[in-house]
Symmetry: C2
Subunit: 290 residues, 2 copies
């Protein structure tokens, strides 16, 4: 069965059974949040969410390479005035399944929908939960470095005496630092908080993340030529990100309409919009046909 660089139709738990073991480097996905997209997806009730997700997660675990990573974008919905517990229950259940819960990134959505409720504020963040199959996974931190903050210009211009030696933290935490090591540094590593605006232009899909979000994780956890899987591909954003970064993609969706939309976006992307050529060195520059 051909699966590489395809958008496949079906339930990912079933479709994935045709994929070989240890064949995927990164799984990045934003599954339908419980009951929140009832019109578009079947709608999963919060209480059944964990049971619904686990058999799929088992397939994810099987197809993922031992060095691979699974990044799950999810947020618990409010049920009866409370945050529902399906997300944290899922973490516990997936650990029993064999996953390691390595980290939880926070996506700070800079432009969430306006709204007012008597008992809560606007929800401005989502979880990006990192699971791994083993403690030894691939991570390419240099690929996502960011410019150092403005503080550095002033701060590093003149170093004090203590800045030139190793200065131990006073509280006994074991921290210590030698600030003179930072001289000449203009790029630094990011943190586990990611600031990105949500995608406003709705592409017939009710929950859109910006293409920069999967791109960030694709750069961080894969190299060109690796394979990225999104088992709830929706409007195809993860596949677009993979193509633009010269990775292979596999997309799956239950909904034929989304499969169509994704295939169209993929084709459009592959046809060689000029910006692709800049990011993919192996691409020829092609006239923009649009």
């Amino acid at each position: 069965m051909k699966y590489l660089n395809e958008i496949l139709l079906g339930d990912c738990g079933e479709v994935l059974k045709s994929l070989p073991n240890d064949s995927v480097d990164l799984i990045f996905t934003s599954p339908p949040y419980a009951d929140q997209r009832r019109q578009t997806y079947g709608g999963v009730s919060p209480n059944e969410y964990v049971a619904w997700f686990l058999p799929k997660a088992e397939q994810f675990l099987r197809v993922l390479k031992p060095t691979g990573t699974f990044v799950l974008n999810v947020k618990e919905r409010v049920v009866d005035g409370e945050r529902h517990t399906y997300v944290i229950e899922l973490i516990l259940a997936m650990r029993k399944q064999g996953w390691s819960w390595t980290e939880e990134f926070m996506w700070h959505k800079k432009n969430s929908y306006p709204g007012k409720w008597p008992n809560r504020f606007r929800d401005n963040w989502e979880r990006l939960i990192q699971f791994n199959k083993s403690k030894k996974f691939n991570m390419y931190q240099e690929a996502v470095m960011v410019p150092v903050g403005d503080w550095a210009k002033e701060r590093l211009a003149k170093l004090s005496e203590t800045d030139r030696m190793r200065d131990e933290s006073k509280v006994g935490s074991g921290f210590g630092k030698n600030i003179s090591n930072w001289l000449g540094r203009d790029m630094v590593y990011p943190t586990n908080v990611i600031h990105m605006a949500t995608e406003c232009s709705n592409r017939n899909h009710s929950a859109v993340f910006p293409v920069d979000l999967p791109k960030w994780f694709i750069r961080l956890f894969t190299e060109p030529g690796d394979t990225v899987l999104d088992p709830f591909i929706g409007s195809g954003t993860t596949a677009v990100a993979a193509i633009q970064l010269a990775r292979n993609y596999v997309g799956i969706d239950l909904n034929p309409e989304y499969v169509e939309i994704s295939r169209a976006r993929v084709a459009e992307t592959q046809l060689g919009l000029p910006y692709i050529a800049e990011e993919r060195e192996d691409y020829q520059v092609v006239e923009n046909i649009a």
Copy 2:
């Protein structure tokens, strides 16, 4: 037993037994994270954390008014390359105890300690978990409104202590003279993401949150004259915040040294720095003795 506006010495689970039912409007606290302040506190092993916390949470539930709120500042540590599950297990256990898990605010710490590891980035956020006793709790959203525009958020976050003494004089509103100019203009409600730097100036306490953090929640969930409890008072920051906002406080700590430090800070705050008199209408203006 007198407990109002006192810093009490002892294990909060025991000390709280002397407090009456339904007597506290807000509990705001940052307990020792598992095993992470070993030098200063005893250190609780991650695996025992939930069992250690639950009897205390039971007392919190008893002393909290039905309209009150419990805000818990906590973050899971990494154990053997994984985020430990004690925090999410605690949420599940506290719900069984009778708490509602209303919301989870995100504290984005802009100045986390530097560090680099092969498999993770610096941790730049902590949880502020909101628990309630009933669905009908008090919330004063207008008290934490912010001027529209990003510059204002930056301005608020960057106010130094001296700036605050100078600027923060409007009773209850929390906005300084400069910023109050914008009161008549477009004010918006904040979101559930809070941007504040950690307190670096050493107060002989290894884990200091900025006084603005408890202040934000005190404004949001209480009115002047209400009672704020911090059962792990540490260096007394929550009590200082309560005093500056004309609320009653109750602080508890197991460590005699911290009790001393907290009492000293409380006394210093009460001695009537001028800005206090402006914020507490029930205070006489007292000469600054410093």
